[in-house]
């Protein structure tokens, strides 16, 4: 299963309490706090952990349908840190999961899967928004995803639908669910989808 999360780095700067001492207390575990010393950019480190935890939560929700603010239930260990990509292992209540984050100056895009072998098979896309309202942006991400899936499945785009079932996004073709695992995210000027 897959979960993803995009963070608009430009928007996030100075707009969140991320540098507030309580933020770390509420989100990070002791071993994670030790790892942030590897970063020159503290904000980048904190958003990296957040986006991994949020992606892991989406996988957790798909498997359990349990909701909650539970970032500390996902312990992230950063395995390999490069300028544009981080690989990570996530200890979740349901076992060991794997994640990667793609990084640019504009965004972070985290993707987590419950199986290591799936990590390199993820298809994904980042979408810079022109629209400014939540609903228009959401529509735009759906449209891009439908176009991608239309090419993948050789099905007409207008007959594909992305609908939520029990708060989990599913792909429908003529009222039938297709066996494609999708995750969608958006944050201010960036949208993203990932699928397996």
């Amino acid at each position: 299963m897959i979960g993803n999360d995009v963070v608009d780095r430009v928007f996030a700067k100075n707009r969140y309490n991320v540098l507030h001492p309580r933020w770390m207390e509420k989100v990070l575990l002791p071993a994670e706090k030790e790892q942030i010393t590897q970063f020159d950019d503290l904000e980048l480190a904190l958003w990296a952990f957040w986006s991994l935890k949020e992606s892991a939560y989406k996988v957790f929700f798909k498997k359990t349908f349990k909701r909650g603010f539970i970032p500390k239930k996902f312990e992230c260990r950063l395995l390999h840190i490069e300028k544009n990509q981080i690989n990570a292992q996530i200890q979740s209540p349901l076992g060991s999961w794997f994640g990667k984050i793609e990084i640019s100056n504009a965004y972070l895009h985290a993707m987590v899967t419950s199986q290591k072998m799936l990590l390199n098979t993820i298809k994904h896309k980042l979408i810079p928004f022109k629209e400014t309202t939540y609903f228009a942006q959401s529509h735009q991400v759906h449209q891009h995803l439908k176009e991608a899936l239309s090419q993948l499945c050789l099905l007409p785009c207008h007959q594909l639908e992305i609908l939520k079932e029990q708060s989990v996004p599913k792909v429908f073709f003529k009222n039938k669910v297709l066996p494609i695992d999708v995750s969608l995210s958006h944050h201010h000027q960036w949208g993203a989808f990932a699928y397996l």
């Binding site: 969140y16 309490n17 507030h20 509420k26 989100v27 949020e54 909650g68 603010f69 309202t133």
Partner: protein
């Protein structure tokens, strides 16, 4: 503080994090901060920190886990104010 007073104060804390302001018009006890108000999940941390400072209380991890709906958040705040 009454439930109404806590709800009003909570609403003023939440408001800056709601991008689509018209969604604030129908806040009910059952309103879900993420699903109904479309608040970005990253802002939940901000809201919890803001609530702690505004009400001068501490919200531990177990309580924070429950803070998804307005009624649950109000109950958690009320419990801690009166503790």
């Amino acid at each position: 503080m009454t439930v109404e007073e806590i709800t009003a104060k909570l609403r003023s804390i939440i408001e800056p994090y709601v991008e689509e302001k018209e969604l604030l018009n129908n806040i009910m006890p059952e309103t879900d901060l993420l699903e109904d108000l479309k608040i970005n999940s990253a802002n939940l941390v901000d809201i919890i920190i803001d609530v702690e400072m505004a009400f001068d209380i501490e919200i531990d991890d177990d309580a924070a886990e429950q803070m998804l709906k307005v009624k649950d958040s109000v109950a958690i705040i009320q419990e801690r104010i009166t503790a």
